[in-house]
Amino acid sequence: MNASIPLVFATAAVVAVVIGCGTKPAASSQDLDREAQAAVKASFRDEGIAKTDRLNQDLGQSACSSDKPPPEAVADQIMSEARASVKWPANGMYFGDWREGEKLAQNGRGMTWTDPSTATSANGGNCYNCHQIIKAEISFGTIGPSLYNYGKNRGVTNLAAPTAQGVIEYTWMKIYNGKTSNACSNMPRFGHAGLLDQRQMADLMSLLLDPKSPVNQ
């Protein structure tokens, strides 16, 4: 993840210089942006694998850091940068093993300061935290849409069929970097942020799209 200039707070910094510190009229919104930035900088410390550089925001993070959506032009920029970021699987290996995918989907671990390593092998997919997936698992979150019958509902009956190619590419892109289709998507960018490797993403692809996966039964 490259740390570009935090957009929201960058403007605040300029304004702050003009007004100067120490004056006590009602704080402007920009003053408060600057103070919030300073509070964030001052309030955290490194712990385990979670270092303070994680507080640096890239364009998408800073533009999606308020209760209002970013301007359309910014959203477009985030999405086009996201699309450019997607790495397609080597040799067209989109699929793996849905059983492994299910295990990954169940696994909510990874990247916290209590996790031992940032290696992809230490990470789960966290999928059930937000999505319904196979019907037998009743403990699922609702932040994201249900993925039950994901492939079936999209008409995927044969992974090798040319008609399935569009859905396959879309799904890969969504897992790799969900900001491709929604600038402020809540979904982590599993490929782009290095959370899952190609093999793990292929296993999740099988879970969602393989006609033999319980997701599509």
Partner: protein
């Protein structure tokens, strides 16, 4: 003003005196049934406590939720309205050691006890009534243990 803790500790002293005067039950020091608590299943636990083969019975009730949000704390209860009960047991079938608790019943208490147990996974929980006449009756109920939280 006294704190609750002071009240409690003062009463603890009183109890200490009672104990010295021989007025307190000595059962606190009674032998703990190690073999029963090491048993892997209901039949072995009951056997270790001197009982015969358990028979399922509608006269025994086991209470608990259908789903537990967390296996670390699962509220369960065992009860029976039958007269002549000597002991009530609570078990979790799929725990490494099935037996969780043994209650020795007297006429002064209702045969109805509630506590909370740990469950490693979805399992049957079992209430067993060991009767004075040697009969051993039981009831069971499945409690689903779900994965909660963010899993991290």
């Amino acid at each position: 003003m006294q704190t609750r803790r002071e009240i409690l500790s003062r009463s603890a002293t009183v109890v200490g005196l009672l104990a010295t005067a021989g007025m307190l039950p000595k059962t606190v020091l009674a032998a703990w049934s190690q073999a029963a608590f090491e048993a892997k299943n209901m039949a072995d636990a009951v056997k270790a406590l001197g009982g015969g083969a358990p028979v399922e019975s509608k006269d025994v009730t086991i209470t608990g939720p259908d789903i537990a949000e967390n296996g670390a704390v699962v509220p369960v209860g065992c009860a029976t309205a039958l007269p002549g009960v000597k002991r009530m047991l609570l078990l979790v079938e799929k725990n490494p050691n099935a037996l969780a608790a043994v209650f020795d019943v007297t006429d002064a208490v209702e045969t109805n006890f509630s506590t909370r147990v740990k469950m490693g996974q979805t399992s049957n929980v079992i209430a067993v009534a060991m009767m004075g006449d040697g009969k051993v009756l039981f009831a069971q109920k499945e409690i689903k243990v779900t994965l909660g939280g963010c899993g991290g």
